[in-house]
Amino acid sequence: MSRKGADIVIETLKEEKVDVIFGLPGGAIMEVYDALYRDGSIKHILARHEQGAGHMAEGYAKATGKVGVAMTTSGPGATNIVTPIADAYMDSVPLVVITGQVPTHMIGNDAFQEVDIVGITRPITKHNFLVRDIEELPLVIRKAFYIASTGRPGPVLVDIPKDITQQLSDVKIPSMDEVKRSLPGYKPHVEGNTQQIKKAAKLIMSARRPVLYVGGGAVNAEAQEELVELAELMKIPVTTTTQGKGAFPENHPLALRMLGMHGTYYANMAVYNSDLLIAVGARFDDRVTGKIDEFAPDARIIHIDIDPASISKNIIVDVPIVGDVKIVLRKLINELKRKGAKIEHPEDREKWIEQIEKWKKLHPLTYRNSRKVIKPQYVIEQIYEATNGDAIIVPGVGQHQMWAAMFYKYSYPRQFLNSGGLGTMGFGLPAGIGAKVGRPDKEVFVIDGDGSFVMTMQEIITAVQYRIPVKVAIINNAYLGMVRQWQELFYDKRYSEVDLSLQPDFVKLAEAMGAVGFRAEKPKEVREILEEAMKIDDRPVVLDFVVDREENVLPMVPPGKSYKDMILEDGKGAEAETMYLVG
């Protein structure tokens, strides 16, 4: 049956079971929007800025594991979505971004609203396509979904010239087999080398002080069950990155919670003193390792990752295993069981667990609360209470993001959705909206900074329009707080351009956009407004928490330093204690 290219786009999206698109129309993509309207079966969320649409699609994808779809027009529409594409690339988020392009014969002529978006996004997409011929249109779109969602997931952009959306064709939607056959150079499924798995099992059984270090790859692979089984079977403590949060429940006795720059004392001490580090779907980011020469100095390293290019990139590892994390962990568990799952040095292992318990007691995550001013950590704890620890938390970027990571305990995967790799301020609100669209059954709490919020706050209007009841807690310190903290600690308190004390009335602002606004200025009001907010389920709610302005995120490993140089919650260094340990 002959139909327009635009209709083929919609037909293919339906074949891919797309139920929602986040986007904003314009000249070059109008045919597709017309086809979307005529078809009427795919929901579309009209963002107020294409960056918003992109982060919404990311939030949807991170919350559900499905591919997020965003659509924009050419030129400025396309460039506005570049930041979310880069964000998705860094955090391995499966995204398909469809952009309109000027008609084929005008490409390269500096036509109105023309940019070479394929060129611009080449280094920040897993792959991208410019559609040249209507006959290849459905195949290209299907390839985009296949590439985005398999192997190490990532964003794929499909740029479609306007004339192609207008032409007619009776091209069939290709089958999955045809899609795979058209990509002979792409082999995303890897099972892990058996010899390497055997080696890993040996190391695990003979280790005295092992630690599992878990990243976002474990979440993407849905490997939480295997992780818990492995940790319990071999009595291995587990630390996670921000991306790996929830892949191992943080209330589990073996949980060390987060490691790295703002990791817990006990996670960092455990990693530092470990003799075997098992990295699972993690990439040894510099925010995690600190000074790399002194990262886990005594440890052998096993690295399980789906991406061969991630292995031995930042750090040399002893046993690399390239493969799907879930499959490899299952094989590893089987191998261990086959060998009797023996812990060869049980006394050492017991001492190790005891030692970690001591570290946990010595420096738990704490803060000094106050009756006069609201402490940001207190707000997070109260949100934890108010949501029974079951909400999906979506932060912006800054101090509030780290407090949200530290003072809310995460128990399931895809519960903490943050911009980890790119660190994009403005991610929170739109990603939270996308998450709520994907998981309407869950409470979604955006925990934003006053600086981050204003970068994409127009999306409150979107949430009002579609009755998406996200909660937005602004941790309002009237500062670009994280930058201020660095200036305090490393630049002698020279607060260069971080003061945000001139700010809108966030309550009125929320109301002006049709949302509900509350403010808390005293500690006792925190609970009150949270309770009020929890009653509202047909509109977004903005909660303005006016907090202690100069609170710092601690503990902290200063940038470029090692774990033993950690600054603890009392502002003192951990050095003396660990130096003893290091002996």
Partner: protein, 193 residues
Amino acid sequence: MADTVGGADITVAKAPKFRQTKKGHVRKHVINVKVRNEIGVLARIATLIAGKGYNIESLSVGETHEPGISRMTIEVVGDDIVIDQVVKQLRKLIDTLKVRDITDVPHVERELVLVKVHTPTSRARDEVLRIVEIFRGKIIDVSPETYTIEVTGDEDKIDAMLELLKPFGIKEMARTGKVAMKRELFLEEGNTE
């Protein structure tokens, strides 16, 4: 303090060992890449290499006997370990079918050069002709003032010939960039020609 933290008499971390991905040896690498001949594939490869801060020394691309499949030989000077990373990332590209660093693998390599030499006198013409013969080149264009020479060979041979031609005055030169292929059999050491 000591009791609570270090008190447990477990063995703990001793001497930090060298952790960082070591910096390798910097040298010229020859990388063969088999690609699907799709739009943008060259740009993707170039972007990736440039993204590491490396300059492509030479690059040759051409079709193979298989339809739709091209082959590239890329020469790039870089750190062994970084190049290893580049190779892994090249393999990850959707349109690459095979990537191999053949620097340390026995292989044959050839490059074709066209060079226009200043030969205004009969003496210059005689001498240039002799050099061309020694290197088994060909004179493919003549003018009263110049000879244009074609020569094929490996890097050493071409460099040697160019060195000998330089004193006459090279007016123009074009090189194809290296093409390289792994040897199937290598019976004797030194069998490189």
